[in-house]
């Protein structure tokens, strides 16, 4: 097939994939009520009070109470009522002003200010709009990543994205949690930087677009979470080192200069921002009844791999609060997720490059460092550390490892395995979205029966569609996404000589 024709076909496939992913994201936006993600009431309070007391959205802003958080008075909770429809059993209730924890220096304020643009007098619609805007942002970057990348880079990025997507990345991407922007930003910025660097002189348009999208994705990281800075700096640093082939050219001075600049930048940020300095302030001396240092450090060095893997469905989604539930995902979600990811890594390591090995080793150390940093503040708890803390770096680690592999084919280029993977990911997605919706509607999810809507009704009261239909549409759409997006990647015939 000639290149322009293939390019045109790929554009069509990317457009179809984007449409299907949008529909999938809409389904996820409807899958949970307000307050579903971790600490979401804090984030909602921060969004409503992002501009301080304004007399309409934020009625009061108070000093920290016994919980240690600043609080804002705002009218947010309305029972997740979408439309007040007199024909429905469940009617909307007037919103009542309540006290919510709110951000004051704990997170960057830009994310909350951006989300505040979508606050209206109708909280549920506002949150839905925010979720969809965040989904659209991620989608726009995904389209950019697919269109601007060469076949090989697209394969690598797509592998990293798709095999780490379910369920937590998807859950956070289409949410009002700043981690969504962190994951989206870190997960795409490295790719745009790589494309900008690797674009030839003739590919000026590609370079300009790549720089523009790199700027957007980087800004998303800076606006969302302080800890995500580290991941972005690391991923961009790795891309620069590899793209300029610095090690092979033995231009160690560039590595040294970049490392020094990064270190100085981090130092300067830590001087002005207590949260960045907090990350580097390891509590090496146990306080109170903390686990002893050797146990704490060696436990987490061994467990490092476990933390990001939890996001594949081992860890519950959301946070338990009165009236809401954490979502326990069915075990096949993580079993299939880990199996597929293992397959990806094994195939990429059939013929590894030295760069790939070093990269994986350094990534492991970085993740271990971040885990120790977080866990040190959590009283050295050996059992509870959410995967979301290192989620932004997860897709990069997988994707870039695939990119650095010397293997001439990757798992999704093997036609039959691709079919199996698409089917399995479809199953994982369907189980995940069903579990999320059923738990939020019914309080628990132990099966894959039709979701029973009781008199408490569907969370988004007033919608013409019900939860079962949202599961169905979301599942079909995600399958379309997988089929379309992987059809932009050529398959290879595998033989014994393939790698020779």
């Amino acid at each position: 097939m000639d290149a322009p024709l293939e390019e045109r076909q790929n554009r069509r496939r990317i457009a179809l994939a984007a449409g299907a992913l949008l529909l999938t994201m809409i389904s996820w936006a409807f899958a949970s009520p307000l307050g579903a993600t971790h600490d979401e009431w804090f984030h909602l309070g921060s969004i409503w009070c992002a501009n301080g007391v304004d007399g309409s959205e934020c009625l009061e802003f108070n000093e920290p109470n016994e919980s240690g958080y600043y609080t804002g008075i705002a009218t947010i909770e309305d029972g997740s009522c979408f439309l007040d429809n007199a024909a429905e059993v469940l009617r909307c209730k007037p919103t009542v002003a309540g006290s919510y924890p709110a951000n004051f220096g704990l997170y960057p304020s830009s994310y909350y200010k951006a989300m505040n643009l979508f606050v209206t007098s109708h909280p549920t619609l506002s949150v839905l709009t925010m979720r969809l805007v965040n989904g659209l942002l991620a989608l726009a970057l995904l389209v950019g990543a697919l269109v601007l990348s060469s076949h090989r880079v697209r394969l690598a990025w797509l592998t990293g994205y798709v095999f780490t997507l379910l369920p937590m990345t998807m859950f956070l991407t289409v949410s009002v949690h700043p981690s969504g922007w962190a994951v989206t930003g870190v997960g795409t910025s490295w790719l745009f930087l790589h494309n900008a660097i690797s674009a030839t002189k003739e590919q000026k348009k590609k370079r300009v677009w790549s720089i523009a999208l790199w700027t957007i994705s980087s800004l998303m990281v800076f606006a969302s979470r302080y800890d995500a800075f580290i991941f972005m700096l690391f991923s961009n640093f790795v891309v620069v080192v590899v793209a300029f082939n610095i090690f092979r050219r033995s231009q160690i001075k560039y590595v040294a200069v970049t490392a020094v600049v990064s270190a100085v930048a981090l130092y300067l940020v830590s001087r002005t921002n207590s949260l960045v300095s907090w990350i580097f302030d390891f509590p090496l001396e146990p306080i109170g009844e903390m686990t002893k240092t050797s146990t704490w450090i060696s436990h987490w060095l061994v467990q490092t791999m476990w933390v990001p893997i939890q996001s594949l469905g081992i860890e519950d989604l959301g946070q338990y609060l009165p009236g809401q539930f954490t979502v326990k995902l069915p075990n096949p979600v993580w079993i299939i997720g880990i199996a597929l990811l293992g397959g990806v890594m094994l195939i990429s390591l059939i013929k590894p490059s030295i760069k790939q090995i070093i990269f994986l080793f350094v990534s492991y150390l970085l993740i271990a460092f971040v885990i120790l940093s977080f866990n040190g503040r959590l009283e050295r708890d050996l059992f509870n550390l959410s995967g979301r803390y290192v989620l932004p770096i997860f897709s990069f680690t997988i994707g870039y490892s695939v990119l650095l592999s010397n293997n001439t084919f990757q798992i999704m280029q093997i036609k039959n395995i691709r079919r199996v993977a698409v089917v399995l990911l479809t199953v994982v997605h369907a189980l995940s979205i069903h579990a999320v919706i059923e738990t939020n509607v019914d309080g628990q999810s132990h099966s894959v029966e039709t979701i029973h809507v009781g008199s408490d009704a569907w969370w988004w009261a007033g919608l013409p569609v019900g939860p079962n239909f949202v599961v169905l549409i979301g599942s079909i759409a995600f399958t379309w996404f997988l089929i379309s997006v992987w059809s932009t990647i050529r398959t290879v015939e595998i033989s014994c000589e393939t790698n020779l």
């Binding site: 529909l23 029972g79 997740s80 007199a86 024909a87 429905e88 059993v89 469940l90 209730k93 609060l321 009165p322 009236g323 809401q324 309080g443 009781g454 008199s455 408490d456 009704a457 013409p464 569609v465 019900g466 239909f469 169905l472 549409i473 079909i476 759409a477 379309w480």
Partner: protein
């Protein structure tokens, strides 16, 4: 066979208009449904409406006396309008310290009925889990034979407990199980009778009337069909490929 499939490809041309028409018909039907008028539980016996303060009825041993005669019953029905969830509240009681009958909600949203038993313990009937603020109806039928039936708009449960022996020395509406109400509004109709079959028929009539009053969901057929046609695509085209 090939010709048949070729002809069926005309479906691809009309798929979008059909989807669109189905979706429009579905949405129009959905938006033009009449207002929902729920069937009300018929009034019976004494009526109480608690708004702010607890209604103190004091010693109402006459209510518990009904539960000592064969085939007699105690029927309590009404509605509870919860303004918030996540807090423990008592809705009503007939005695203090779990000596009688009480109806309450725990912090997890579990609504339950407690009733004092002959052996001195308390029997519990877990009724429903409430996850959002709002109004719900209830009807509790307690038979002298220790058969308890609780009905609301979606549940109809019957539980046989051990020998019941509640007292009614301190009957209160708006408090129960040593907890006062916290923001909810309670309506209660209380009656006793000598033939439990009549009370059961009373409940069945209500359940039937409520089911009939529920809003129509027929609009879902065209709406869902239209949306599915759009999303599924054309399987015939796949075959052609």
């Amino acid at each position: 066979m090939k010709q048949i499939f070729d002809r069926l490809h005309v479906y691809d041309k009309i798929r979008f208009p059909i989807s669109l028409i189905c979706v429009v018909v579905g949405l129009t039907t959905w938006s033009s449904r009449p207002d929902f008028e729920p069937a009300q539980f018929p009034s019976h016996g004494e009526s109480f409406q608690q708004v702010n303060d607890v209604i103190e009825l004091g010693d109402r041993s006459d209510l518990c006396l009904a539960l000592r005669e064969r085939d007699h019953y105690l029927l309590i029905s009404g509605s509870i309008d919860l303004t918030k969830i996540g807090v423990e509240q008592g809705f009503f009681q007939t005695a203090d310290a779990e000596d009688g009958i009480y109806f309450d909600i725990d912090s997890g949203g579990q609504v339950r009925l407690g009733i004092h038993l002959h052996d001195g313990t308390t029997g519990h009937v877990l009724f429903r889990k409430v996850r959002r603020a709002g109004l719900f109806n209830y009807a509790i039928l307690i038979g002298a034979n220790s058969l308890i039936r609780i009905v609301d708009n979606e549940n109809d449960i019957q539980i046989q407990v051990k020998d019941i022996e509640p007292t009614c020395l301190n009957t209160r509406i708006g408090a129960g199980n040593e907890m006062d109400i916290r923001g909810a509004l309670v309506e209660a109709n209380i009656s006793t009778g000598s033939d439990i079959a009549i009370a059961n028929e009373f409940l069945e009539n209500y359940v039937s009337a409520y089911d009939k009053s529920l809003p129509s969901t027929l609009y879902k057929w065209p709406l869902y069909t239209g949306m599915l046609l759009l999303v599924v695509g054309n399987p015939l085209r796949w075959r052609k490929k």
